[in-house]
Each structure stands twice: as C-alpha cells, then as structure tokens.
Amino acid sequence: MIYLVSIGMFVGLLAALALFLIAAERFLLNYGICKVSVNAGERVLEVEGGQSLLEALNSQEIYVPSACGGQGTCGYCKVTVLAGGGPVLPTELPYLARKDIRAGLRLACQVKVRQDLDLRIPEEILNVRLYSATVESTHDLTYDTKEIHLRLLEPPQIAQRPGQYVQIQAPSPAGPVWRAYSISSPVHEPNVVELVVRLVPGGIASTYLHNLKAGDPVTFTGPFGEFRLSEEPETEIVCVAGGCGLAPVKNIVETILVRWPDRPTWLFFGCRTTRDVFYYEKFRRLAAEHPNLRVVYALSDELEPGEKWDGETGFIHLSVDRFLEPGRKRQAFLCGPPVMVEAVQRVLEDKGLAPKDIFFDDFGTGAPQGAAHAASTA
C-alpha cells in the first residue's frame, strides 16, 4: 500500500509541477506576434515571437544562408539588426569583428524574436528562393568528381550571376543539413542548375549527391554569393581554379563567351595528376573558337612513367606568374583550396591587381561566400 501511495503521490506532484511549468511558459514566454521590418519598411513581416530570427525569416520565405542549420557554428546567417535584437550574445562573438558589432551585425540563428525588430538584409538575400528540382542526369568527370544536372520544377527558373552558389539540402540522421555548391551552368540556362561535386569520404552532402540517380528530387535554396563580374568588356577576367573550384569558373567563362565573345579571359586550372583533370577538351575547344580565351591547365605532381601531358606542370600560381604580363586592367576570381588561393593572391597583387579586384573563395574556410563547399565541409 505504501508503495502505491508513494508512487501515486510522486507522480501526482510531478504532474502538478509540469502543468504549472507549462502554464508559466504560456504566460511568460509568449511574446505574441512581433513585427519585423526589413530594409526600412520595404517588407514588414508578422511572425510568432519566441523563435529564432533565422526560423522566423525562413518561415517568411527569406532564406538567409546558413550552413550549420542554426546551431551557431558557421557564421553565415549574418543580418543587421538595428533595433529590438537585445545584447550580442557570447555565442555570436567568435563570428563578429568589432566593427561588425558596431554596425549592428548579428547571427540570425542566435537572435530570438522577443519584440518588434528592425532589420537590414542585403537585397541579394531577399531574392533567394527555395527551389525544388529533379535530377536530369549525372556523369563522372573524374574518379571522385561528378557533374550533376538539376532541372528546376518550382520555381522553374533561377536568376543567378556567375560565381554564385546554392545550398543543397541533404538528409542526415540528425535532420536535414544544408551545404553550399557553386552553380557551374551558365547564366543563359536559367532552367537548370549544374553542380560539380567531389566525393569527400564520410561527407554527408557529397555522398548524398553522388548517390542521386536521374529522376530523384532535390531541394535547394539560392542563389547566394557576392561576386559581380565586371561589366566593362575591356577589363580582362582571370579565373584560377583548383580541384572542383572549376565549377564557378566554368559558369563565369561560359557566361562571358555568350555576352562578350571577344573579351580577354584567362582560365587557369591546377590539380595534382592527370586523373584529376576534367573539362580540358571542352575548354580547349572553346579556346580554339575564341582567340581571346586562354586556357592553362597545370599538374603539380610528377607525371607517371608513360603518361602523356601537353599542358603545364608545377603549381598553378607559377603558371599564373609566367603567363600574365603585369599592369593590365583585370578582375580575378579564385576558387580552390586555401593554400592555392593564398599563393595566387600574392602573385596577382604583384601583377598590380588591387585587393578589391581579387575575389576569392577558399572553400568556406574564411571567405563569407563559401561556394563549392564540397572540399572542406560536405
């Protein structure tokens, strides 16, 4: 009997406490509907209080980039909060420089909506949409890299700029994750998004993408990325890619050839061995048709005995140094592993390029653009 009474009493007390807490939560943590004003009233959203700003914006179809899914570990979801955001939290400090904090920058995933907010969100991000697409075809470029064609279903078209990326949703045991991949299809093909994906052993997203078959559905958001191709046709474009960093470069080159067929353009591609080379024939054919497009492929490792190679050898920044004469008006786009990006950056600055004309994407290890994330995080 004493056991029954004990258990009954204990359960009863716990239930009473739980009910009390639920009631308290309703009463205390009910922030009601909060008004979120975006870009000085350009859009006013009415969202449920109590959720994170990132969730609130996502629910209103504003897709702020986030690679970690709101855990505060990637630092991509920065938005400017002018009023109502409360104090900057310790969880945000690693991602914000002092001048960011002064400017009101916050991580959207860490800001809780408690009251009316006044935000500034770059126009770019407001144009980001959620796309559903279907896999049209996939094929192997190298032993570990695949080209994947996605045909857009809803919305049927994407307005991208070359050099931008999309965030693919990949399923994982801990819920969906989002990973960034550059768009490799050119701007004048708005119905498709093509990706170049290198398989990372153990990578969630790259494994998922490599296992896709024609007809499979894919969800992604985009386009993200701040690169803007110079609109002056006389400015020479220098693209330097390493590994699957060739994806955004393919987009840039193909877009340039359609818009400015005679624009001087350099394409440098560095990899280790002949096994890693892809798109070589395609670009050589384009270079033959367009005399102002120069294509340089370089291998950094020694050739195997009996292998044939008609391109350059040595690290790619040495080829860049050899081929470019200094002093021309240029814009550069670098995409590849951090070591390569850093080396090429130094060479380009020696050639007289201003840092603002060198845009780089070192696979998400420092640049906010984070395109072609495959190599480091997928």
Binding site: I2, S6, M9, L13, L17, L21, L28, L29, P87
Partner: protein
C-alpha cells in the same frame, strides 16, 4: 522543535553556520562563477531567491503533503523535483526580463538545480524540525550566506589576479586554499549565535 527566533536563525545561517564555509555545500558553482564580480553577484542573487522560495515550497509540500500520508522517505526525490521545476521557472523569468544576466549565468543557471546547497537547506530544514518561519529564515539566511561567500571570493580573486601565485597553485587550487582560509575566518563567528 526549538524556539529560536527566525531572525537569529537567519543571522546564524549567514555567519556561524554558513552553508558554504561550514558545510562546504555548493562548491561547484562557487568555484566556477566567482571569477567575475558581476556574475558572482548575479548568481548569488539567483541562488538566494531560489533557496528561499524552494525552502518555502518544500516546507509546505513536506508538512502538508508528505507528512500526513507518512511519505517522509520521498523527501529527496520530491525536493529535487520541486527545485528543478522552480529553477525552470526562474530561467524563464530571467530570459524574459534580463537576457543579459541569463546569458552571463549561462550553464550555471540550470545547474542551480543540482546545486547541493539548495537541496542541503531543504533537508536540514527537515532535520532541524523548524517551524515555517524558522525555515524561511534559515533558507534566506543560507542564500545570503552563500552570496556573501561567493561575492567575497570574487573580490579576492580579483585581487589575486595581480598576485604572484606559484604555477602549481594557480586557478582552482589557490581558490580552494583561500576558501579554506575564509572558512577559518568565519569560525571566528562561532558562539555568537547558534542553531542546533
């Protein structure tokens, strides 16, 4: 049952029977949160509040629910459940009204739940067979005593930042030693008032 007045018990709980310095309860958050003065004050206030309030609730639960049904043996689990629920409530309160303190306390706010000083006070209150007002005095006194200890320690640690402490003693080691010295100093209050 003794007839010491609640005020005397309060004073005794602060000085002669300081929960931290004589019983050495609640050391974990004491050591971890005494680095910064404002955090120490914030945590002290939170602990005092939780301690006083849970003593009241636990007194009522114990004497009006457990004792009539002869369920005194349930005191441990019931006290812990009450404390846990109450800390949740305090958390919601702080999050709503003082986000800054909420984030400054960080993980130590939910850890008040398992702060043994709070459970200790509830159990002592039963052991000492206090009346309602004595229990309130004891709870509040223990809370204030704990706050006093952690605030003193925060001040001392602030001073110690400029002291030349031998490498093996830096950090928690010297804090423990200083706590011991503080406890010795508080023993000077012994005999001033006494409970039990």
């Amino acid at each position: 049952m003794n007839d010491t007045s609640a005020l005397v018990i309060f004073v005794a709980a602060v000085f002669t029977n300081n929960i931290l310095l004589t019983y050495f309860l609640g050391m974990c958050s004491f050591l971890a949160c005494s680095r910064e003065f404002p955090t120490a004050v914030g945590l002290g206030v939170a602990v005092t509040f939780v301690m006083t309030a849970t003593t009241v609730i636990n007194y009522l639960v114990y004497h009006y629910v457990l004792v009539p049904y002869d369920l005194g043996h349930l005191q441990f689990v019931v006290f812990i459940a009450v404390i846990a629920a109450f800390v949740q409530l305090v958390e919601m309160f702080l999050e709503r009204f003082s986000p800054r303190l909420y984030y400054a306390l960080g993980i130590f706010l939910p850890l008040i739940t398992v702060n043994c000083a709070i459970l200790g006070v509830a159990l002592f209150m039963v052991n000492f067979e206090y009346t309602f007002f004595q229990a309130v005095g004891f709870g509040a006194g223990a809370g204030v005593g704990w706050t006093l200890a952690i605030v003193l320690m925060a001040g001392l640690r602030h001073k110690m930042r400029y002291a030349n402490i031998p490498a093996p003693f830096q950090g928690v080691a010297v804090t423990m030693i200083v706590t011991g010295v503080m406890a010795l100093a508080f023993m000077g209050f012994a005999g001033m008032v006494s409970i039990q």
